[in-house]
Symmetry: C2
Subunit: 189 residues, 2 copies
């Protein structure tokens, strides 16, 4: 791609709408009730593209994702994921890929990789929300049986699941702690 | 707030623009070169509100954040964070707050909390990008000295830093692995 000799600030060039982006972030909340309508391929494509645009420590991209939409597989995976509420038409299995690391990469580096998987999941959730879908991250699941069901290689470590689908009900935003309690400026007194 | 008796699908009601949101997610990349211009208070407010809208496992919100903008503090923190490149006008210190857990909450629950901190950081990065700022998550830092400098209580565990400011250069998006390599459908063959 040709580089421009006098670049404007990149966001001006991109015509991003801060208000719209912030509204999407602020209004996302967990959706745990879905209609039976499947999620169209084009939406899945948008969500996974958003997902892999997340930050990646040292650009290692030590992640792997399985999108489960086949009803039989979905049902099986769900039976080993008590944290999945409702009947999502899609489950995402988000993993750390240890094969992307060398033996010299220690626990610290791998911990960073897990944080990147979480950031990728947040992008997936935001994309789903922007597209009119509802989704919910799930941490209560049995990795062993799910790994077997999906024939997953040993070098993948399951980090999070995400349930997603067309929302059946209006989401109920969770209450949040006061900002003053959670955010400090320039340190603690 | 009054509830509507016949809710439209929530995203319709919200008038979210999926294209705009997805573009913001897809075009965000690490920015490591900043002008000296400070980040206005209103932008900081927007970014921290976006941050605390991230998913929180069991809505525990076991997180705490320090926004460092005072030039002297910033310089001091930066000297213990070799991962910070350039001269950001703002540093975010993102922490897990162990005081939000009880003794019966095990390692698994706290690991989930770290993932939520990472998702909050991703929201912060996306908000910064949408607002025309540049930012970069940083995992190379010395928690001990930074904790002392900011007088942080023992129950906070430093997870990530974020450097942010007005971008001095056009960001250079990192190359990403092929989607086919990273995303599988319904399992591995």
């Amino acid at each position: 791609m040709a580089r421009r000799s006098e670049p404007p600030t990149p966001q001006t060039a991109l015509h991003l709408d801060p208000t719209g982006v912030l509204r999407a972030i602020l209004t996302r909340s967990a959706v745990r009730s879905y209609t039976a309508e499947p999620v169209p391929d084009a939406m899945v494509e948008s969500m996974v593209r958003a997902m892999v645009s997340a930050p990646s420590a040292s650009n290692q991209q030590a992640w792997a994702f399985v999108v489960v939409r086949d009803p039989v597989r979905l049902h099986s995976v769900r039976s080993f994921a008590p944290g999945v509420i409702g009947e999502p038409s899609l489950l995402l299995v988000a993993c750390l890929d240890h094969s992307r690391y060398s033996d010299s990469d220690g626990a610290h580096v791998r911990r960073q990789g897990k944080l990147c998987v979480a950031m990728a999941v947040e992008n997936f959730l935001l994309a789903a929300h922007a597209l009119g879908l509802g989704a919910c991250p799930v941490s209560s699941f049995l990795p062993g049986p799910i790994r077997l069901l999906l024939n997953m290689p040993d070098h993948l470590e399951l980090i999070l699941l995400v349930a997603a689908g067309h929302p059946a009900t209006k989401p109920n935003p969770s209450t949040r702690r006061d900002l003053d309690e959670v955010v400090r400026y320039d340190g603690y007194r």
